[in-house]
């Protein structure tokens, strides 16, 4: 996949390589876990950002994905369940110059920490949130998660889940997230590009990463990666480009009013000019894209979009906060502690 928005390769943090961002700790995920690829791609991204490791912080909650900070040779906090966005908010507000990453999972970020997630998205601090979605609880050994599909049989749902799952990208967009994107562990190149975009976006970036749990939910996303199915189940978004997918890009998506429709480009009835042109800044269309969320076992479903669904630059919380601090300093001048302590009225006892 091409993108004009990748990082201009001019690293200023020495001649570091990805492996220089690996900590001295043994990585302890299950063999074959999708987390390994994500860790490697994040480590590979780091030299390209040009940011020195002492200015980077990884913050996580609890869960398999949340062990991530221990494996990065940066600063890091392995916090408590669901609270990583809140910890990151305090750190970023107090130290706006740091590059702060939040690593979370579908249980950590959308269930126990759902409240912090939506409030962080609306505030729009310049944070990078990586949500590893494996549609299962791994560390607690296999219960269904808020993204597990209806009917999913797990240790806590022996008769199948009756919970309607979250659509994470609709949720992020609904919370007024300024950057909403999706990628997957099995496509390291796409993952790398999306990580770069996540880093470059100024504001809260929400990157959902489909991540395979080899032990408790193996193959959950196979249909998006298997050669036999991926052409019809997934669509890769490019800003300014028409929505096309399928073998030899033979399918396109056009908008009939607000209704997306799959069309065949090889029959001659439709051409590229008729198709929906992806515009990352169009919130309404982004909303429609997030709703391409049908179960891919259903006939006639729309393909699952990967890439940046929505990106909009707007004021960051820490930027507005710094503005207010500067305005307060302008207004009050040099702080005078004696005056402050004295308050409005004093009296003297002799």
């Amino acid at each position: 996949m091409k993108s004009q928005k990748t990082i201009d390769r001019a690293p200023t943090n020495g001649e570091r390589k990805g492996k220089d961002f690996a900590s001295d700790q043994d990585v302890r995920w299950c063999p074959g876990c999708g987390d390994y690829t994500i860790l490697k791609q994040v480590q590979n991204l780091m030299p390209k950002t040009g940011i020195d490791p002492e200015n980077i912080v990884f913050i996580a909650g609890i869960g398999c994905s949340s062990r991530f900070p221990y494996y990065m040779n940066t600063y890091g906090i392995h916090g408590i369940h669901g609270r990583a966005p809140a910890i990151a908010t305090g750190l970023k507000a107090a130290q706006p110059k740091l590059s702060v990453w939040v690593v979370t999972g579908d249980g950590d970020g959308l269930s126990i920490g759902g409240n912090h997630m939506i409030h962080t998205l609306r505030r729009n601090l310049d944070l990078n949130i990586l949500l590893f979605n494996n549609e299962i609880y791994g560390l607690t050994k296999g219960q269904y998660s808020p993204t597990s599909r209806v009917g999913h049989v797990t240790r806590s749902t022996p008769m199948g889940s009756i919970d309607n799952p979250f659509n994470p990208l609709s949720l992020a967009l609904g919370a007024n997230g300024s950057f909403v994107a999706r990628t997957m562990d099995r496509d390291p190149k796409h993952l790398q590009v999306l990580l770069e975009r996540t880093h470059l976006h100024k504001g809260t970036s929400f990157l959902e990463i489909y991540q395979n749990c080899i032990v408790f939910n193996d193959g959950a996303f196979n249909s998006y990666t298997d050669k036999s199915t991926r052409d019809t189940t997934s669509i890769y978004l490019e800003d300014g480009q028409p929505l096309k997918f399928g073998p030899d890009d033979r399918h396109g998506i056009r908008l009939d009013g607000y209704r997306p429709e799959v069309v065949d480009l090889q029959k001659g009835d439709w051409s590229d000019d008729d198709l929906w042109i992806h515009d990352e800044k169009d919130r309404n269309k982004a909303w429609l894209l997030t709703t391409f969320f049908e179960d891919n076992r259903e006939v006639g479903h729309l393909p699952r979009p990967f890439g940046v669904l929505f990106a909009e630059e707007r004021s960051t919380y820490e930027g507005l906060l710094q503005d207010q601090i500067a305005a307060a300093k302008d207004q009050h001048g040099e702080p005078n502690l004696d005056e402050l302590l004295a308050g409005e009225e004093t009296w003297v006892v002799t």
């Binding site: 600063y75 890091g76 305090g90 507000a93 740091l98 702080p335 004696d338 402050l340 009296w347």
Partner: protein, 618 residues
């Protein structure tokens, strides 16, 4: 008839009226004037939990009590000498707080049929006459009529005129207690500087109220209260919540240490958030989070980044924060947690006071989780003890729980201003960077000093990259460790670190009485004023009793055990069902006895004195 001038050593006045009657403002004006007169004083506001309870009902009554005198004053007073009521509901809600034979000043216009009905009196009731029959002195003034008369030339609409009623009453009370009006006149001119007509009207009502006292013959006596012997210095009035906010700001300013407050609104702690939000230019950043957990975890994030993280709440909010307090204990970062206690459990009585969160502070977390605990003893003490709490948090890299409560948070007393120059900065040093080439082997974040304190290594510092987390740490390296012996060692280190604080706090001293004897009264928190007054009076009456008040609760001052052992009996009065008493018995094996009442209100001096005398004579 001539009016007699009488001298009083101490007086307690309670203003009461509808929420819309301006009672709090009237009370605070009387307080400022009284302070300027040189009296010692203590005040307590008593207002309804509802923002705008229905007018004229008992639920909507707002009260303000001031106790002032020519001697040292430690409490807002058990009962009042004078009760000022603006309507029938105010009388109904407050008559029980008036001393027998006390004075009622009543606005008769607030005692009409409708007022009686709203206050749920019988339609034929005559509460003022009943009060007279019960031996109270009742001064009846039609305040509404008098104020309208006073302001008829101003041309102001009746709504604005009626809003000056409280100033008319204040004028009457100023006359009755021989107080000057200048301070209030100055205040009104400033408050209504953009509306001079309103300022003039309020001032005229105030003066006419004062003149009313002189001109009419409804009072047979007038009182003066001489100045109290007070330490020389510059004073202001301060509430506990304001004192907490000022101390946090002073620490930031004096120590050149950024402070980050993460908070979620909760009664009665919100005023600390309000005050600090206005002090951004002093290096204080405030953040209103989405919930209690986000508030404290954001503060922890900021502490990791080199700020002093602070969170403020009350009992129910603290309950939500407990897991985060444990995280901060494991991360060994500075953190100040202020618990402005209120009456519980659950939502309880949110505007009423209690000190029932002490065991929560000691034990309310999963695992062995030692933190430091301090408690403020009065509104003014909130400044010193908050300053201390910040110092301990930073110098010992530990979460500190500071306990205040609704009573001292909202109550006010004169505070002798410290000089900024004389405040000692909190000492801290971030871990120094390591140059290129020095960053092998990895930085070890859990290497401890002689007090078991680990270094504060903040992001942005070269060569110190490290990871912290809630999983057990390996000694020195800070890496994850499941080793049994290492866990035991780290548990012990964290406890020793908390205990070592005792070397850096003052020894416990006696507030009243001798160093040994038959009876020691020991208290903590906002009961200070009541216990101090009760013990003082008991000693004056010849009883042998000593008193000490704890401000440092975890760790205790290192001489506390010796002190307790020098007494035959120990009395522990607390506004809970017996919490400190449990801890003292547990830690020191002493036969401490509790005196416990949990009614949402402070102890009266009288009940404590009774208990002390009972113990001295049994």
């Amino acid at each position: 008839m001539s009016i007699q001038q009488k001298f009083k050593k101490e007086v307690t006045i309670r203003f009461a009226g509808d929420s819309g009657d301006g009672i709090q403002l009237t009370g605070s004006q009387f307080t400022n004037t009284t302070a300027l007169t040189g009296n010692d004083l203590s005040t307590f506001p008593d207002y309804p939990a509802e923002i705008r309870a229905p007018a004229g009902t008992v639920h909507g009554v707002s009260g303000f009590q001031i106790h002032f005198g020519s001697k040292a004053i430690y409490t807002p007073g058990d009962t009042c000498d004078v009760l000022i009521v603006m309507n029938a509901a105010a009388l109904k809600a407050n008559l029980q707080s008036l001393k027998s034979g006390g004075i009622i000043i009543a606005n008769t216009d607030g005692f009409g049929k409708k007022d009686l009905s709203l206050a749920k009196y019988d339609p034929t009731a005559t509460p003022l006459q009943d009060a007279k029959n019960s031996g109270y002195t009742v001064i009846e003034i039609d305040v509404t009529k008098m104020t309208r008369e006073s302001l008829k030339e101003t041309g102001l609409p009746p709504k604005d005129v009626d809003r000056c009623k409280n100033m008319f009453v204040l004028g009457v009370v100023y006359w009755l207690y021989s107080r000057p009006m200048e301070s209030t006149i100055k205040f009104l001119n400033k408050k209504f500087s953009t509306k001079p007509i309103i300022a003039e009207a309020n001032i005229k009502a105030l003066k006419d109220g004062y003149t009313f006292g002189i001109a009419t013959e409804i009072f047979s006596e007038r009182y003066s209260v001489e100045a109290a012997p007070i330490d020389p210095g510059t004073y202001r009035n301060i509430t506990g919540n304001d004192a907490v906010a000022l101390a946090i700001t002073a620490v930031a300013n004096k120590s050149d240490l950024p402070v980050f407050l993460g908070s979620y609104p909760i009664t009665p702690a919100s005023d600390i958030l309000h005050s600090l939000s206005r002090l951004k230019h002093f290096g204080v950043t405030t953040y209103q989070a989405e919930d209690e957990i986000a508030a404290i975890t954001a503060a922890i994030g900021a502490s990791f980044g080199g700020s002093l993280g602070v969170t403020t709440s009350s009992g129910p909010g603290i309950a939500l924060k407990t897991e985060s307090i444990a995280l901060a204990t494991m991360l060994e970062l500075p953190l100040l947690i202020v618990n402005v206690q209120r009456a519980g459990p659950s939502t309880g009585l949110p505007t009423k006071t209690e000190q029932a969160d002490l065991l929560q502070a000691f034990y309310g977390r999963a695992g062995e989780c030692p933190i430091a605990i301090l408690a403020a003893s009065s509104p003014a003490d909130c400044f010193d003890i908050t300053y201390e709490a910040c110092r301990i948090a930073v110098e010992h890299m530990i979460p500190v729980m500071l306990l205040t409560d609704g009573y001292i948070a909202n109550g006010a007393e004169p505070w002798k201003l410290p000089k900024a120059d004389e405040l000692k900065p909190v000492t801290f040093q971030y871990q120094k960077p390591r140059e290129n080439g020095q960053d092998k082997p990895s930085f070890r974040p859990y290497v401890r000093d002689e007090n078991q304190v680990r270094p504060w290594a903040i992001p942005g510092t070269k060569g110190l990259m490290h990871r912290v987390g809630g999983l057990e740490k390996e000694h020195e390296t800070g890496n994850i460790s499941y080793d049994p012996d290492n866990h035991q060692m780290m548990i012990t280190f964290r406890e020793q670190k908390r205990d070592n604080i005792a070397r850096f706090i003052p020894d416990q001293s006696m507030d009243e009485g001798g160093d040994s004897g038959k009876l020691l009264v020991i208290g903590w928190g906002s009961t200070y004023g009541s216990i101090k007054s009760a013990v003082y009076e008991a000693i004056e009456e010849g009883y042998e009793v000593s008193y000490t008040h704890l401000r440092y609760l975890s760790p205790f001052p290192k001489n506390l055990g010796d002190m307790l052992n020098r007494f035959d009996r120990i009395l522990v009065p607390e506004i809970n069902s017996g919490q400190l008493v449990k801890i003292l018995r547990d830690q020191f094996l002493v036969p401490a006895e509790g005196y416990n009442r949990v009614r949402g209100v402070p102890f009266t001096v009288a009940e404590l004195k009774d208990k002390i005398i009972e113990m001295c004579t049994s």
